[in-house]
């Protein structure tokens, strides 16, 4: 088992499993956010539940943060190791002849997503923690929708969110289907699964773009 932890295959499996976990979280996040387009009350109700339920707050949230941090750290470790595996670069390298841009640039789309997460935490997570645990406020179950919509008043912030979702889509276009290959799933069902992952990678980020633009233009 100790050899396994150090091995290249175990690392890529760990990368894949943490990625799949984050994909599940992303889907859940999307289905909560999309309610804000249809009903402020529903959004407030779900947000209040997620923000106050002890299982979500003290079990799911730390697991999620660990998953995010693990995925990024492992991504950087693998990138450094992979760069070291070729000490002299090619003078001429025709990567597009045999692989997609997304697959060759996961580190860059990942860095943009990491920067976005910084902004997203600054916008929502940190104010929420301060509101709940630092300052003392009377309980207000209807504040979430208004706080969220206010963030999308700025065209700069909305633009940054849209750009980040585009990069998220590119990251998922390779990463989601790639994770199944990494865990050893490549068989007659892979073609259908690939179709599902591509649809997910396009539609979910597109949905997030729609939500951001919807609230920007409906101030």
């Amino acid at each position: 088992m100790s050899g396994m932890i150090q091995s290249s295959i175990a690392r890529k499996v760990a990368m894949a499993l943490s990625g799949l976990f984050l994909v599940l979280f992303l889907a859940q996040h999307f289905f909560i956010n999309i309610t804000s387009v249809f009903s402020a009350e529903a959004f407030n109700s779900i947000s209040h539940y997620m923000g106050t339920n002890p299982v979500v707050q003290f079990v799911a949230q730390p697991i999620l943060i660990f998953g995010v941090v693990f995925h990024f750290i492992m991504g950087f470790i693998l990138e450094i190791r992979n760069r070291n595996a070729r000490d002299i670069s090619y003078s001429s390298y025709n990567g597009s002849a045999n692989s997609s841009w997304m697959s060759r640039n996961m580190i860059y789309s990942g860095i943009v997503i990491l920067a976005f997460l910084g902004l997203h935490f600054y916008d929502f997570w940190i104010p929420e923690i301060v509101h709940k645990y630092v300052e003392s406020h009377p309980e207000d179950t209807t504040r979430y929708f208004g706080e969220m919509v206010a963030k999308f008043e700025s065209p700069v912030r909305t633009g940054l969110y849209v750009i980040s979702f585009v990069l998220l889509s590119l990251h998922l276009l390779h990463g989601f289907s790639s994770s199944f290959q990494s865990v050893g799933f490549n068989n007659k069902y892979s073609k259908g699964l690939k179709g599902f992952t591509v649809a997910f990678a396009i539609l979910i980020p597109l949905g997030f773009v729609f939500i951001a633009l919807f609230h920007h233009f409906n101030q």
Binding site: N84, R86, S91, N98, S103
Partner: protein
């Protein structure tokens, strides 16, 4: 055809190399790529210059010796072939062609375009075999019933000639396609199942020790492989490895 060649020249493993430009005229489109380098070397010899060192042997796509990165692709712009099967008709008059060795830390340059691919040999030695008693009581392989689908997949994996194009094509210089082909060709057959767990653990350990990169599933190796070795083999190796590791 008149061509400009930009070739990696490196006197030996310890000397720093560089790209050197050569002009070559009257190249026939019917020539193979290696014939064209032979022609260049004849001209260099006649001028008293050191000819370009490159690997070659069978010149019919079987041995896996030739190993050139041509215009940024292992074995050049055509698909499903080795460099010796590449013909000059794939290029146009006036083209500039970059010719470099297969690049990987685990494939150090010996001279010019010749690289040391003995890392592959060491991976093979770590487990790419079956232990069988040949004292006269050996059961004829044809007497063991084997599922046709598995036999075909094992044969496909066994067509890997170990040229290293997968490593050269991969942005991470990963050797997973090669190792997975060698793991698969045995793992799919009853004779190979007996040592399957030790084989995959030992070969992957050796692969990592040699300093190859991690696979990130770009699929470049599969596209550039002259024998069309499938990514399914890498998925199979991952399964074999996880199963063997978890069983302890």
């Amino acid at each position: 055809m008149n061509l400009t060649l930009k070739i990696w020249r490196q006197a030996d493993a310890k000397t720093k190399g560089k790209i050197v430009t050569y002009k070559i005229d009257d190249v026939s489109p019917d020539m193979s790529f290696l014939d064209m380098i032979d022609m260049l070397n004849e001209q260099l010899n006649n001028k008293g210059e050191d000819p370009v060192a490159f690997d070659h042997d069978c010149r019919e796509g079987i041995c896996g010796s030739c190993s050139l990165q041509i215009n940024g692709e292992p074995h050049g712009p055509d698909t499903g072939i080795t460099t010796c099967q590449l013909h000059m008709r794939m290029f146009k008059d006036g083209d500039t062609i970059f010719i470099e060795p297969f690049r990987a830390k685990a494939f150090p340059v010996i001279k010019d375009l010749v690289v040391d691919r003995s890392a592959f040999d060491r991976i093979q030695h770590a487990g790419g075999f079956i232990s069988i008693n040949t004292s006269g009581n050996t059961v004829d392989a044809n007497a063991i019933p084997i599922n046709k689908h598995n036999a075909d997949m094992a044969f496909d994996a066994a067509t890997c000639i170990g040229c290293g194009a997968c490593v050269a094509a991969c942005k991470n210089a990963s050797a997973m396609l090669f190792v997975s082909a060698k793991v698969s060709q045995f793992a799919l057959l009853p004779q190979g199942r007996i040592e399957a767990a030790d084989r995959v653990l030992n070969m992957v350990r050796q692969m990592d020790d040699e300093g190859f990169g991690n696979c990130t599933n770009t699929g470049a190796c599969e596209i550039e492989c002259p024998k069309g070795i499938s990514l399914e083999n890498i998925a199979r190796m991952n399964r074999e490895y996880l199963s063997a590791s978890l069983k302890g």
